[in-house]
Amino acid sequence: MVEKTTPALEFWQRLNRNRLSTVGLLMLGFIFALCLMTPWLPLPDPDVTDLANRLKTPLSSNHWLGTDELGRDLLSRLLWGTRVSLVVGFVATLAAALVGSLIGLVSGYFQGWIDSGLMRGVDTLMAFPYMLLALAIVAAFGPGLLNALFAIAIVNVPFFARTVRGATISLVKREFILAARLGGASHFDVLSRELLPNILPVIVVTISTTAGWMILETAGLSFLGLGAQPPTADLGSMLGEGRKLLFTAPHVSTLPGLVILILVISLNLLGDGVRDVLDPRLRGGALRSPQPRTQVLSTELSSGQVGLTGKLVVHNLTTELFQQGYAKPLVRNVDFELRPGECLGLVGESGCGKSVTALSLAALAASPPLQISSGTVKLDGQDILRLPLRLLQDIRGKRVSYIFQDPLATLNPVLTIGEQLIQVIRRHQSLSSGEGYAEALSLLSKVRIPFPENRMKAYPHQLSGGMRQRVCIAIALANRPEVLIADEPTTALDVTIQAEILSLLNDLRQTTLADSQTGQKTGLSVLFITHDLGVVSTICEKVAVMYAGQIVEFGETKSLLESPEHPYTQALLACTPRLGAKEKVLGGIPGTPPPPGAYPLGCGFVDRCKVASAKCQQPINLLQLSSERQVRCVLKQESNA
């Protein structure tokens, strides 16, 4: 299933994907190789003066890069100097990393007064301008390379301490740390064996992004005459010596400056690449920002089932995950129609493709990596997948709107409820801000939020989970949509709150229906996505059951739940615990669903099905059992034939 790769190999492959970081790596490798070979290269002694040959220009005989004012060979000094700068820079980085990470780990893990104490110390260090602090340290200990190294390391400790502390704090509350503590692990044990391996990538990333900076700082101190002392060459001191001759012999200072530039650029390019590979926040394709709409591959225009006159007709919808040259289907040939005023439930377990289906309907599935490879989604007969972007955006949030599972993630944390509502209203309706306010207020009372005037000024975090979801519903209903797509809107809520939200949604649906009876005959159509068959019974007239990216059964809620035809629906119902039921449901369905993207060609349920046979390996069509009932199972096809 998964290609065999070692973590190291994977690291290189991912690093190589960032071309610039490969360039950085090559440049750095070249400089490193040169520096390592320096003692064996046929070069003159870098510190021997030769006043007869002073200030030779580059490309003169015996001196490729010329000489400085004491007649010393610049190429030799440059190579030896780079060695010194690199060693000092890296040792300082490692020292800062070691001390800083230790402080960060300890204060993030223990927290409380240890954290306060250590962090106030770190804050104090940070309060000084770094160069000033380094100067003070060197001034106190006297000039010299070693002291410059200490100074640079100390100055950079806070950077590591803060980064590592942040990463530690986010891990300490994780259950595996609690489990280790419950497993009798000592503090040292938790720090070294549980926390450190998880923090290490953060430390490596920080090292790779600061090493260039540290080399620059070392050069800075040497430039001021506080680092390397004559006659020792290092890039900074060479720059300092050449400064006086900038106009008479520019090459003396330009050459070390160029080396510093190349060194720091290559380190930063490499550091960027390393960060992209190791930073967990940037993993999983987050670097590639999705386009405003899902890519649609096929250009089918008029195909589609004849005779379906629903509000929203989905035909043959297939959405794929496109990664590394392979397209893996997540949603396979999904057909359904949503009639005016109808609530259709889309039920399935995690990874069955129900959310991807929902997002594909308004071309919202993140692309890349997702793409719609076939199918049409018709709103009143118009295919919305292939509309120009501007027209599609006019439909989103107006004619088709969404509610998602996590209201806290859906709402913008820095805008008030009122601002967010008014924004959505005014995007699609030409209202003045005063009219927008009035409209927003009436929406909030429509979703039964008490004291709507006060809540207009509230921020999302000031509301409870149930209230937040009401706000999301208000936003979804703001422009009187024809189709509402609700993706697990009550899953994150407590059951008593869930009951309230379901009741609200049901009432809203009914009132829009009543409105429409006077005017046009369009009520709010709802696609309700959930994993909970109980919720479906409460709110949906019809249900489509999804498994492994396909609809396996479709029918009216009552009859489908009373007499399920597909073995999966039957098994799912049998293992749903019911309060007060006579029998226990212990056991469940053996095995696990196929992971997204690895769906078999035939029936997805074949491995877990009690009645599976060899025929189940071939693709199976949805069989129309009656006008309102469909099932995708070989057994039913045989018994019907």
Partner: protein
């Protein structure tokens, strides 16, 4: 009457929300309020309540991850404070916990072998071959192949990862297992597998369970007795079946009526709720349809008249039998 294995004796836990300049708490949140209960050796007790009702705080206090602000938590007769001082390793061996999120409860950088072996190294003085033997034994108990040992946590599905968590908890042969929402993050079909596994483990090993969940139906599968919590207090307790069928507390009633059941439509009432913040008294009074003046006094947990098996309810106006 068997001796109680775990006892909560008037336990209160407060968290400081704000501290003043001198580090003194100026605003405390009472997560658990004067709670008393116990569980006997070999029993399985369910604790039910919605998010924020204090059930997870209780679980943490039961294993000694948090210490109570007042009151005592006793395991096998000794307070956890004493245990931690005198023999922390024996306590850790005997009391283990399974967490809600299976993927977060396994260290992503360790192979399963390392996860399980570390637990054994820390809690037992087994030699290497004994450890290997025990690891294989416990993996067999949770029905996973021994090849599991060489893989990393991310290679497993939620259900498998939860089996590994259970294996880790059981590896030191504990007497008491705290299960904090162990199946809430799992799909229904997998949830039922884990419930069966837990039921088998209990029968086979005689482990005592404290099972914390927001899902009444799941608790009913596994626990003969149950506590219902609301806002830090126990509002009703008793034998599971009896409590659900003859519930007396209006909150229990609301909770049960809110659970959607496949094939049945919820009776959805669109009642307007007063958003008044009444301080003190019964914690449920702001949401309770029956609340009146009397409810500003804190109700005590009292035995329900005519009940068998210790059915208790904390309400001034308990529902009548007919409800």
């Amino acid at each position: 009457m068997p001796e109680p294995l775990l006892q909560f004796d008037h336990v209160t836990k407060e968290f400081d929300l704000n501290k003043n300049w001198f580090g003194k708490p100026s605003n405390a949140f009472r997560a658990v309020n004067e709670v008393t209960w116990q569980v006997e050796q070999g029993a399985a007790l369910g604790i039910v309540g919605e998010s924020g009702c204090g059930k997870s705080t209780m679980a943490r206090m039961a294993v000694g991850l948090e210490l109570p602000t007042s009151g005592e938590v006793r395991f096998a007769g000794k307070t956890l404070g004493q245990w931690l001082k005198e023999d922390a390793i024996l306590l850790r061996q005997s009391v283990q916990m399974v967490f809600q999120d299976p993927s977060a409860s396994l260290n992503p950088r360790q192979r399963i072998r390392e996860i399980l072996e570390l637990q054994l190294q820390r809690l037992t003085d087994f030699r290497a071959e004994q450890r290997t033997q025990r690891m294989e034994e416990v993996l067999e108990q949770v029905q996973l192949p021994s090849a599991t040992l060489e893989r990393y946590p991310h290679e497993f599905s939620g259900g498998q990862a939860q089996r590994i968590s259970i294996a880790r908890a059981l590896i030191s042969k504990p007497k008491l297992l705290l299960l904090d929402e162990p199946v809430s993050a799992l799909d229904v079909s997998v949830q039922a597998q884990i419930l069966l596994l837990l039921e088998e483990m209990r029968k086979e090993l005689g482990v005592t369970y404290v099972f914390i969940s927001h899902d009444l139906a799941v608790v009913e599968q596994l626990c003969p007795n149950v506590l219902v919590m609301y806002a830090g207090s126990i509002v009703e307790s008793g034998p599971t079946r009896q409590l659900f069928e003859h519930r007396r507390h209006p909150y229990t009633d609301l909770l049960i009526k809110s659970v959607p059941v496949p094939g049945k439509s919820l009776e959805l009432k669109s009642e307007e709720k007063a958003d008044l913040e009444n301080q003190g008294g019964c914690t449920f009074r702001n949401r309770c349809p029956k609340a009146n003046q009397q409810c500003s006094r804190v109700p005590n947990l009292r035995e329900v008249r005519g009940s068998i098996g210790g059915h208790e309810c904390a309400c001034h106006y308990p529902l009548s039998e007919a409800a």
